[in-house]
Amino acid sequence: MARLDGKVAVILGASDSRSMGAATARRFAAEGAQLVLAARRADAVAAVAAELGAIAIACDITDEPQLAALAKAAVDSYGRLDIAVNYAGIGGSGAILETSADLFRQQAEVHFVGTGLFIKHMALAMTPAANGTGGGSIITASSLTVLVQAPDHGAYAGSKGGADVLVKVAANELGERGIRVNSIAPGFTKSAMTDAYFAMPAVTNAFLKEMPLGRFPTVEDIANTALWLASDEAFVTGQRIDVTAGQALRRTPRPEEFV
């Protein structure tokens, strides 16, 4: 018996076939889950959805009605919602002294407000646990920047850190419905979003030195972690699971080390 048999999962942020969202979708599908895949543009998830026989839907995490519609799509299509994973994110960097109000707000809008509303609407669509059924698992992407200082990532790290606090608050409040809420902090992971960095050996070499396990996390590592948190086996809630190759124990290299 597969580990997610009978489960219905929403995955937001699966818009590239090499993304964490796509890898998670493939892993969940292989374990028997029925899927609703979402990204800002529905056509961006169409290929992965077609590959897996999943439903594709457009959803912008900064738009509350669209989040409610995403949860409703799962319930309308499959009769229930058990698992919701949020990888929606947006890059943005700058030193604090140069960060505009617009950048702070944009990062907070996507990572903090968006995560909060994602948790809210996914939890509302999940059936409260009773007699061994119902409940669910909500998973959201945190960041290595919450764990070790990354130069010029104040707005990004601050918004991600705020979301981790929301995860704890939501876990405490939603436990009585049997809903678990956790985050995954990926390390410097090879994915579509980091292609530009991986094209620069000076950058990757500097990062690799800070990874005790000596290799970069992959999108499959993140997908496997999501699978663990999604399955009924995980008696874990309100936690951040770090998948950083051990980089959380060390540091982020500074730009002047990229030589």
Partner: protein, 263 residues
Amino acid sequence: MGRLSGKAALVVGAAGVENMGQAIARRFADEGARVAVAGRNMDVLETLAADIGGVALPCDFSDRASIFAMVEGARTALGGLDVAVNATGWGLLKPFLETTDEDFDRMYALQLRGPFQFLQALIPAMATGGSVIQISSATATIMFHDHDAYMATKAGTDHMIRSVANQFGDRGIRFNSVSPGVTETPMTADAAAVPGLMDAFRKGYPLGRHGTREDVAAACVWLASDESFMTGENMQVNGGLSLRGNPSKAEIEAAVAAAVATS
């Protein structure tokens, strides 16, 4: 095909009937691992080993030579060593001001020096990489009364796990710890027998129940498997207890008194 097929695993602290180590060993065997179980009571270990097709090894976890002999015995018997779990522990409950040096020394030997020696034995023995799992406790971070020596040594061992993860990751060995909350095991059987006592803990669990041995075993399977790329971390496997905390001594006493009054 099991999630630990082809792996050789050692579980120390499996010599108590139906204790946490036994649940972990059984689950590992169910997932296809070859398993060695160790502890102080060979009769109990041999019964378990026969049940799961494993190997039983004696170990006094407060003795260096015994720990090294166990690790070498497991490596030889299993033809290698990929996974190692330390599930030993001593749940001493004693008021801080009454805890003696002898109590503390015994706790230190079992819960801090023992893990140190276990890691020293394991790192060279895990020639092709692997996963080391230390059973910690929610009380390594949250409070509980009269549990000082236990809590301090668990917290120290968690940090040692981070330290070896940092230094020996290049050997392909991952090191993590798992923190259950109060779990029904032989170690807590006396407490569970007191009317009302376990109920006093329940409101500390957002998920509405306390943990089981099987919850901990499931987390160990995940950490032991190649699916986990975690290292140097502590995973709280306690249904959110770490968010709320344990009941105070006064709350426990009140719950017990109420249960006794209505029984």
